[in-house]
């Protein structure tokens, strides 16, 4: 069985800036991999390259055995790729068309991918909406009447309508309230159990990563600094940066340490300070 996603020596440059440098990883069928990093780590750029919204400078990406190293332009090709990998974005407020209800959005995706009758589409829309826990009212109102958590459910249903093998979750729960985040995380686990879908979780939140994934790669300034099973990497981080990340998570008894101390009185106005 080919891996659902294979990324090899991926590189992205923006002029002089190297956003992604020699990144390789694979995601197997039914597996979930997290890409952890802070801003500037390149994790979102990787997601964009895999989904075809950015063009890699060099390197190879293949999903379900099909190469997708260069973004597709033609609709037909994009459609085929859309059935392999889908994405749920971070911001629930801009990832849905403000003029379309959940039903309309999901129905449109079904129309793009299948030549079904209206009857059959309606059935499937109801199925997907039910799968993500949207009730009758929530399915038929425009997004502005929905909360952030409900919108993310719509976004998930819409992504699943294409029946992808891999779902990229680009900080998809970061903007949600804690109680809602828990609901959506449970939902994602249920969907995985029901469909065997794989997840690529892009996140900065180590607790969410622990909850949802079995494998993790840690990125810093474009490069992978550590990788391995999630539990092992989080319990016994090897790389100093991973250790720093782990240390920076608030917990009872936490004493945050200054890495950059106050400049001594005589030096204020002198040498630059590392950030």
């Amino acid at each position: 069985m080919p891996d659902v996603l294979e990324v090899e020596k991926l590189r992205k440059e923006y002029g002089d800036l190297v956003a992604v440098d020699d990144v390789s990883f694979t995601v197997g069928e039914g597996q979930s991999l997290a890409v952890v990093g802070e801003s500037g780590s390149g994790k979102t750029t990787i997601a964009k390259m895999i989904i075809g919204l950015e063009r890699p400078t060099s390197g190879r990406i293949s999903a379900c055995g099909n190469d997708r190293s260069i973004p597709a332009r033609a609709a037909g090709k994009r459609r085929l790729r859309g059935r392999e990998v889908q994405i749920v974005f971070q911001d629930p407020y801009t990832s849905l068309d403000p003029r379309h209800s959940a039903e309309a959005a999901i129905d449109e995706v079904l129309r793009i991918h299948h030549g079904w009758t209206a009857e059959r589409r309606k059935e499937r829309v109801a199925q997907l909406a039910g799968l993500v826990g949207l009730d009758g009212r929530q399915r038929s109102v425009p997004p502005k009447s929905l909360s952030g958590g409900q919108r993310q459910r719509v976004a998930i249903a819409r992504a699943l309508a294409a029946e992808p093998k891999l779902l990229i979750l680009d900080e998809s729960v970061a903007a949600l309230d804690v109680s809602i985040q828990a609901q959506v995380l449970n939902l994602l686990a249920d969907i995985r159990d029901a469909t065997g879908i794989s997840y690529l979780l892009i996140s900065h939140d180590l607790a969410v990563v622990r909850q949802l994934t079995e494998q993790v790669i840690v990125m810093r300034k474009g490069s992978v600094v550590e990788r391995g099973p999630t539990a092992a990497v989080l319990d016994h981080p090897q790389h100093p940066y991973t250790q720093l990340l782990r240390e920076s998570v608030p917990r009872p008894g936490w004493q945050p340490q200054r890495r950059i101390s106050a400049l001594p009185v005589g030096d204020r106005g002198a040498a630059p300070v590392p950030v």
Partner: protein, 332 residues
Amino acid sequence: MTPPNRPEAGNLLAVTGLRVTLGAGTVLRGVDLAIRPGEAVGLVGESGSGKSMTAKAIGRLLPRGARSAGTIAFDGSDVYALDARGLRGYRGQVAMVFQDPRAHVNPVRKVGDFMTEALRANAGVTKADAYAQAADMLGQVGLDSKLLRQYPHELSGGMLQRVMIAAALLTRPRLLLADEPTTALDVTTQAEVMAILAELRRDFGLALLFITHDLELAAAVCDRTAVMYAGQIVEVRDSALLHTDPLHPYTAALGAARPDIDRSQARLRAIPGRPLSGFEAPESACAFAPRCAHAAPGCETELPMLTDLDGGQSRCLRAAELRGTLGVTAGA
């Protein structure tokens, strides 16, 4: 011994019975909070809880059309009864730092201009002196004074937030209102900023009202933590006891709903439904009852009051009954 959460002599800030209405709805439905000099108090809540509005009310930054009732007393005097001069003095004593520093700074003015503005306008300090103080304060937060000559867009989010903190401290305030100051920052930058805040608090004897959605962060950083739901405070507790011995089912549920960095769970203990805002909350029932695992029939008919309990406070009708059963260790 936890200081009581009641207005009394010695409190730096005392909020009593604060109600805020906006348009047709009530956003804050009776908030009582006290902060002692030098104390760090956390204010935790989800969307619609009213935590930001509380901070704005204290800072006298309520939006137009908002009407407030109740009293906010700083050092004994009513904040809303201050005249223009008194208000300027108040702003020197109570500083505010916001979530998105870029939205609160003028992008076409240099950092130095922005930092020295208040000093020069209100405290009558000379330009040279103001700049010297600003440079000094930047040094305290670990930034070089050459930043004074730079523009906001040349600084990263973390650096700019540190500048905001430095700027806030220039007038030597006695209370800092921080509304989600680290939410938009990387977790390592957040740790840095929190460390700086802790040190500055010690050096300047600064009291802090720290508003956040992150229960763990508030509990780790503040002496006492207050939890808000639907426009009211539902629990006030010593931070050290917040996880092990919470007094309100919502606090317990919030702690349990969060994924655990040390282990993955088969299923998270999610709270059914969604957070209620002050607008939607019923007037004569517990706002959290529909989502509460411990709700009793009485909870739907009676509005609970904030009552003292074992050094903290809880707005739960069954608080006394549920003592000791809500903690993470119990029933985990």
